[in-house]
Amino acid sequence: MSQTIRLSRRGFLKGAAAAALVGPYVVTSGALGAPGKPAASNRLTVAHIGIGNQGSGHFGGMLGNRSAQILAVCDVRKTVRDQRQKEVDARYGQERESGEYQGCAAYNDYHEVMARADIDAVIIAVPDHWHAIVSCAAARAGKDIYQEKPLTLDIHEAWTLVDYVRRYGVVFQTGSQQRSDTKFRHACELVRNGYIGKLQTVHVGVGGPSEEKYLPEEPIPPGLDWEVWQGPAPWKPHNSERCSGNYGGGWRMIRDYSGGMMTDWGAHHFDIAQWGMGMDGNGPVEVLAPDKDNKQIRYRYASGVVMYHGGANGVLFTGTDGKVEVNRGHLKTWPDDLARATIGPNETHLYASNDHRGDWLHCIKTRSRPICDIEVGASSITVCHLGNLCYWLGRNIKWDPVKKEIIGDAEASRWLDRPKRAPYRIA
C-alpha cells in the first residue's frame, strides 16, 4: 500500500501555484471545465464507501452533481462495486468526446481510498459496526466526511470520533437528514422559543432495540468478502439475513452490528428531540427502565423534562401551553394556529438547511460546521445507546452527560466500549 500523504489535494494545489509549467502541454476540455461544469481542479473529488440501500441514494446524487467527481467506489461485494464503477465510467464517458472514461477505481479495502491524496471527501454508508473505524481513518487521512446515521455502534466510539474530527479539522456531516427539513426545524423553533410554554415531556415513537439473532449457516455468495464484512463484530457463520440492508430487519436488528430501531430511527427522532430541547452536545441524566406503569423506557433530563420512548412514529413535544407533533410530511400543533406562527427576528432561529448533502458540500467550501456536525451526531446517538442499554440490562442507568460516564454501575459501563474482534481497531 502506498504511503498515505497527509497534505490534501487542495492544499497541494494551493502550494503549487508558483510552479511553472515547462514544455508543450495539452489541456483537456474536462480540465478546463465546460459550460455549467467546473474545471476539474475545482470539482470536489469523492469516494463512496458502502453502496447498499442508503449508499446508493448518495451515489446517485453525487453522480449527478456537476461540481463533484467520483474517483472511487468501495464495497466488500464485488458485484456492487464493479457495477457502480461501470456506472461512473459510463456517465463521465458521456461527457467526453471519445465517449470513454476509466477513471473510477473500485476497491474492496477502504484503506486504499484513504491512501489516495487526490480524494477530497468520502461518503460512508457501511453497516453501523464499521462506522467509527472507517470514519476515524478518513478523518486521519484529512478527508471530509458524510457518514450515515446511526453514528456508531457504541458510546465510546461516538466520542472518539468527535476527537478525531476535531483533531484533524475535517468537515463531518451525520446523516440525520431530518434536520434539513423545514417542518422539523419549525417544530423545534416553536419549542425553543416557548410557543408551547415550558416544555414538560417529549414522546419519541421509534421501534425497539436490536437483539441476538440465531441464523443457520449459508454458503458465502461469490464476491462477498464475509471476513471483512464482519470486521470488528464477533465472528458468526454467514447468513444472508446478517448482511441484508433490509430497512426493517437484516443487520439493523442484530446487536453485534447495530442498535435496532432505537438507533436506526432513533438517530432521526431522538436527534430531533434533542434539537427541540436544546440538548446538542448534552443529554439526559438518567434512563428509567420499564416498570409496572411504563412499558417502555423514559429519559430524565436535568431540566426536569421527561422523554418517553413510545407513541406514533415521530416526535411529540408537550408544554404547559400547547403541543407540537412532527414527522416527515407532518406537522400538527395544539392550538392549530401555532403551526403557522412566524418566528420573530429576535427569537432563536435554528440552523437553516434545506438540503442535507448540499449543506455538507457547502460547508466543505466554507470550512464550517454543518447542521449535523459530529458533536450533534454523538450526543444524539448517545441517547439511543443509553436507551438500548437500559432495555438490555433491565435497570435504570444514571448518566453524566458532561463526563460521558455511567454513574455507579461498573458492569453497565462495560457496554460503553465493546471489544472489537482482532485485528480490527480504530487506528
Binding site: 486521519r140 441476538e212 440465531y214 464477533p234 427502565a289 458492569e411 462495560r414 471489544p419 482482532a422 487506528a427
Partner: protein
C-alpha cells in the same frame, strides 16, 4: 430458621424461573453457597441447549442464562455476580460445545471480574481460534490488574504476529500505561502489522512514557510506521 431459608430459596427460584432478578428485589437472604447452588442448577439445565443445532432451543437457553447474568451484574448484587461467574468457570472447557463456550465467555465479558481471569486466561491458548479470540475480548473487558497481567503474559508468549497484534490492541484499548514497554518493543520490529499496532496503541495509551517510546522509535521506523508514530 430452616423454613425461612427454604422460603427465601423458593422465592429466589420463582424469580429465577422468570429469567430475571428484579432490580429492587434481590434475594439478600440467600447465602453465597445457596446462590451458587441455584445458579449451577440452572446452568446445568440450560447448558446442553446452548450449543444445540436447534437454533430455537439455543436461543432460548442462551437468552435465559444471559438475563440471569446481566441481572446478577447490577449494582449491589456482587454476591450473585460472583456466584454466577463461579459456576460458569468449570464449564468453559471443550466438553461444552463451541457455541456454549462462546456464549459463556460473552457473559463473563459482561459480568466477570478477577475470579474469572485464570480460567479465561487459560483459554488464550485454546486450540480453537474462535475461543482464543473470545477469551481475549473477555479479558479486554474485565477490569483489574489480573486481566492486564494475563494479556501481557500472552503477548510475551505469542508465537504469531496476528496474536501479537490482537494482544497489543487489547492492552491499548484498556489504556494500560503499564504495558508501554511491552508494546514499544514492537515499534521497530520486523513485522509491519505489529509495528503499526504498537504505534497506534501507544497513541491510545498516551502519557509521557508512551510519548518517549514513540519519539525514540521515530528515526528507526519505516515510513508507514513513522506516519502513525507522528499521528500518535
Amino acid at each position: 430458621m430452616k423454613s425461612l431459608a427454604l422460603f427465601c430459596m423458593a422465592a429466589f427460584l420463582v424469580i429465577l424461573g422468570a429469567g430475571r432478578l428484579p432490580a429492587a428485589d434481590a434475594p439478600a437472604a440467600a447465602s453465597p453457597a445457596d446462590l451458587k447452588a441455584q445458579f449451577a442448577k440452572e446452568l446445568d439445565t440450560l447448558l446442553p441447549d446452548m450449543s444445540s443445532d436447534d437454533l430455537g432451543k439455543r436461543r432460548n437457553a442462551q437468552n435465559k442464562f444471559s438475563e440471569m447474568c446481566l441481572a446478577a451484574g447490577r449494582p449491589g448484587a456482587d454476591a450473585e455476580r460472583t456466584a454466577i461467574c463461579t459456576v460458569i468457570l468449570p464449564k468453559l472447557g471443550a466438553e461444552t460445545g463451541e457455541e456454549g463456550r462462546v456464549w459463556l465467555l460473552r457473559q463473563l465479558q459482561y459480568v466477570g471480574r478477577a475470579e474469572a481471569v485464570p480460567a479465561v486466561a487459560a483459554l488464550l491458548a485454546d486450540k480453537t481460534p474462535r475461543i482464543r479470540e473470545c477469551a481475549r475480548r473477555t479479558l479486554q473487558a474485565i477490569p483489574g490488574d489480573e486481566a492486564v497481567q494475563a494479556l501481557r503474559g500472552s503477548l510475551a508468549k505469542a508465537d504469531t504476529d496476528e496474536w501479537r497484534v490482537a494482544m497489543i490492541n487489547a492492552l491499548a484499548q484498556r489504556g494500560d500505561a503499564g504495558s508501554v514497554a511491552a508494546i514499544a518493543k514492537f515499534l521497530t520490529g520486523a513485522n509491519e502489522a505489529c509495528a503499526l499496532a504498537a504505534a497506534a496503541g501507544l497513541g491510545k495509551i498516551g502519557g509521557p512514557k508512551a510519548a518517549a517510546a514513540l519519539a525514540a522509535a521515530e528515526a528507526k521506523a519505516s515510513d508507514k510506521v513513522r506516519f502513525v508514530v507522528h499521528d500518535a
